[in-house]
Every structure is written in structure tokens, then in C-alpha cells.
């Protein structure tokens, strides 16, 4: 996804259509997998894996992150670090207690 010239843009359009098809298939897969009512840990892992693939496709191709400048990657790396910390906070909190919540 290099340049933004007319020929490059025409190539991009073909990629957008392919990504759209992939996103539709992955949506069907994620809803299909949910019908099996798998154990919660497996269901969460599968649902988040599929969401991560879908999110990566949107970020890489629709948001052009696959060919972005390094400053944007630095901004996002910092964001991801803080985001992961936020997600780990509940784990630290719940992991530090014993027994059932009141």
C-alpha cells in the first residue's frame, strides 16, 4: 500500500473489496462459533482472536497503517501499552482477592 498516485489508488480499491469480503466471512464465523456455546474461556479466546484479525484488517488497510510513518507507530505503541495496562487492572484486582464477591 505504498504511494497515493492514480495507479496505486486503483490497486488499493481492489484490496478494499477483498478486505470487505474477508470481514464479512469473519463476521459469519464469529456468529457461527457463538452458536456452539463453548466453555467461556474458549469462547472468549476465539471471539477475541477473530475480533483481533478483523480489527487488524481495518487498521492495516482501511486506516492505511500498513504503510504509515514511524511517528504514528510510536504514538500507537504508547497507546497500546497503556491500553494493555488498563485491561490488566481488573485481573490484578480480582486476582488479589479470594472467595466469591459479595
Amino acid at each position: 500500500m505504498g504511494g497515493h498516485g492514480a495507479e496505486d489508488i486503483a490497486k488499493h480499491v481492489r484490496v478494499y473489496v477483498t478486505v470487505f469480503a474477508a470481514l464479512l466471512v469473519l463476521t459469519i464465523v464469529t456468529v457461527g462459533v457463538a452458536q456452539f456455546h463453548l466453555p467461556i474461556r474458549t469462547a472468549v479466546a476465539l471471539a477475541m482472536l477473530i475480533a483481533l484479525i478483523k480489527g487488524s484488517l481495518v487498521a492495516c488497510y482501511f486506516m492505511h497503517l500498513i504503510s504509515e510513518k514511524s511517528i504514528i507507530y510510536w504514538v500507537l505503541t504508547l497507546t497500546v501499552l497503556f491500553f494493555v495496562f488498563l485491561m490488566l487492572l481488573p485481573v490484578l484486582d480480582v486476582g488479589g482477592s479470594t472467595g466469591s464477591p459479595l
Binding site: 486503483a10 463476521t27 457463538a34 482501511f62 486506516m63 487492572l89 485481573v91
Partner: protein
């Protein structure tokens, strides 16, 4: 004296990107933290609760699936609108951005039909520890009872119940399936509501770019392409949030 704003379209020599693009990415980074805080709260509430319903038991999965497809399609039309500006095709740009706005409005209409039944549907908890779901047929404060029509049983969906009197002294609590019903519905309405507000924001910006803002297509196309790219980055982010919200709330 007029001050010229530099590096709106051309890359800044230090960052390598235009100021507009760096600005929108910094804004999106703050948005990640906003939704991140809500996801973190959701995990904490869910992991820490004794009972948390499965999303597919309580929410309308078919409508949410349709909305997922609608939002993904709108992301494609948005990026096609940007490509059309770069290719100097004004007609196509108008068509694709118009479709994006229409799809966003479709998402909101579907969301309305998803929300509305939640406020018509009620649950009554009795002091004896039992509860029932159905519709409030009559709730007059002057009366010492309510009239309540239970939902049909799952085993016998064709058998409909008659409205029954429930004395108020037997009622521990009754609530619609709105945000106040439980932590589950509070989380559901907060997260999907905030996402819905972002959709409305996108509709406003894209509608402006479609009509009065489109004048810039003829006067300064490169700058206009930058505006569409920034609006697009925001719109794809809104799609990205939904991609994680959908399985988290509806499918797990």
C-alpha cells in the same frame, strides 16, 4: 496580519506526516483510552459478579449482526470516497460518502429498534425470591396492585398468559430492561450508547463534508483529500470499536 497554518497537507519536516494527520491519530489514541476504560470496567464487573447473563440470552443477536455488516460496509464506502477524491472523481465521491451517511443512519435506526423493546419489557422480583418477565399492563400508583402479563414459556411459546394481579406488598422490585435493570444492562447501554454518540458525530461531520464542505473539492482538492482521510480514520475507528463490542456484549 494573517498567520498561515503550515503543514496542513504537506508533511512536517520533523514528524514526516501532516499536522492534521498527527492530530487525528493523537485524538484516536485518547479515544482508545476512553473505550479502554469502559472495557476494563466491563471485565471487572463481569469477572467479579456471581451471575452474569450471556449476551445472546438477553440481547438481539440477529439485529446486532446486521448492524455489524452495515458498519463494515460503511467503512468500505468511506475509504472508497477518499479514493474517489484522490482520483478526482467528484460524482463517485458524492455517491460513496452519501452511502456512508445512509449506512450510518441505518445503523442508528436498527439500534433504535434494538433499544425500544428493552424499555417495554419488564421484570418483577418478589419478596419470596422468585421473579417473572413480561409486560406491565397496568401500573397505577393509586392501586395497591399492578397488572402484569407474563412472557410465554420457552417450552410453550404459543401459550400466552392472561394479565394477572400482583399485590404491591409482594413486590420487592420491578424494572424495565433499561440501564437501571442490572450491571449487565447498565454496561450494555453505556458502551453501545457511547458508541452510538460517536456514530452521530460521524454523521454530522460526513454530512458537512458531503454538502457545504465539498466546495473545497474544486478549490483545494489536496487539502480536501486530507479532510476526508481524517474523517475516514475517525470512522474506521468507530467501526473498529464495534468489532470488539459486538462479540464482547452480544456473543459471550
Amino acid at each position: 496580519m494573517s498567520a498561515e497554518i503550515k503543514y496542513i497537507t504537506e508533511p512536517h519536516p520533523i514528524t514526516g506526516v501532516s499536522n492534521a494527520k498527527l492530530g487525528i491519530w493523537l485524538f484516536l489514541a485518547s479515544e482508545v483510552m476512553l473505550f479502554g476504560a469502559l472495557f476494563s470496567t466491563y471485565i471487572l464487573l463481569r469477572v467479579g459478579s456471581n451471575h452474569w447473563p450471556h449476551g445472546w440470552e438477553e440481547l438481539n443477536v440477529p439485529l446486532a449482526t446486521i448492524n455489524t455488516v452495515v458498519l463494515i460496509a460503511s467503512s468500505v464506502t468511506m475509504v472508497m470516497a477518499w479514493a474517489s477524491v484522490k482520483l478526482n472523481q467528484f460524482g463517485k465521491f458524492r455517491m460513496y460518502l452519501g452511502l456512508t451517511v445512509l449506512l450510518a443512519l441505518t445503523f442508528l435506526v436498527i439500534k433504535f429498534f434494538e433499544y425500544r423493546p428493552k424499555f417495554d419489557h419488564h421484570q418483577v422480583w418478589l419478596h419470596d425470591g422468585t421473579s417473572m418477565r413480561g409486560h406491565l399492563t397496568e401500573d397505577d400508583d393509586e392501586q395497591d396492585y399492578i397488572l402484569f402479563t407474563r412472557d410465554a414459556d420457552k417450552e410453550h411459546p404459543d401459550v400466552h398468559h392472561e394479565a394477572e394481579k400482583i399485590e404491591r406488598e409482594r413486590i420487592f422490585r420491578h424494572s424495565s430492561f433499561g440501564p437501571g435493570h442490572s450491571n449487565f444492562f447498565g454496561t450494555y447501554f453505556t458502551m453501545t450508547g457511547l458508541h452510538g454518540l460517536h456514530i452521530i458525530g460521524g454523521v454530522i461531520v460526513n454530512t458537512w463534508l458531503l454538502f457545504p464542505g465539498a466546495v473545497m473539492f474544486r478549490t483545494n482538492r489536496e487539502r480536501f483529500a486530507g479532510r476526508i482521510e481524517c474523517a475516514g480514520l475517525y470512522w474506521h475507528f468507530v467501526d473498529l470499536v464495534w468489532i470488539f463490542l459486538f462479540p464482547s456484549l452480544y456473543l459471550l
